[in-house]
Symmetry: C2
Subunit: 119 residues, 2 copies
């Protein structure tokens, strides 16, 4: 166990080989998980500094402010990091649907065997 | 947009190059994010079939039932999948602390600039 990283009080994100950590965003009001995405060091810093969630877009290979085109920004209420510092939990107030499909959350389907059910 | 995967009702997980998808576990009671880990196809199937959360341990390179040694299993209430099917949200009832540090959640520290604050 990496004691300093796991029990210390210094921010020391453990980025993967691609320079990313996982970011989970939940709705501060409902508690629902809104989306899961990735942050590089710049996105993590921008999220903290601006109070709006930023990610690294793996498909576009660039910094991406959530809502930059849709307007559906995620206002950051609090950021937490997990024990081994390779995942961030962003508690946020969404300005609109978090999912590009128009759903409030990207997790709008329940697993039912080999099938999915809309919530 | 991959319409079938993103809007369809067929379970079709998009595993990464290592055969994994991200799994986020929240506490069915408090709504807190308990942990973030990874599932391969076998872990995903075992989680659904047994009603207890299983993951792929990247450090041990094997299937891992959460709580197999500690007893702190995660009883699955519901499983959801996100729009592009590369992340799963497991809503669970934890039998005990979810974190190996003994904390209820792995996310027990808040980010405050370059520092962390215990909750």
């Amino acid at each position: 166990m990496d004691d300093k990283r796991e029990a210390g009080l210094e921010l020391d994100p453990k980025f993967d080989a691609a320079g990313l950590i996982t970011a989970v965003v939940t709705d501060a009001g409902s508690g629902a998980v809104l989306m899961v995405a990735h942050m590089d060091a710049e996105a993590l810093a921008a999220t903290y500094a601006t109070g709006e969630a930023h990610f690294w877009s793996r498909s576009r290979q660039r910094l991406w402010k959530k809502g930059e085109s849709s307007g559906n920004v995620l206002k950051v209420i609090e950021m937490r990091i997990d024990c081994d510092q390779d995942a961030v939990w962003v508690i946020a107030e969404p300005a609109g649907p978090a999912c590009h499909t128009g759903e409030a959350s990207c997790f709008y389907r329940r697993i039912a065997g080999d099938r999915l059910e809309r919530l």
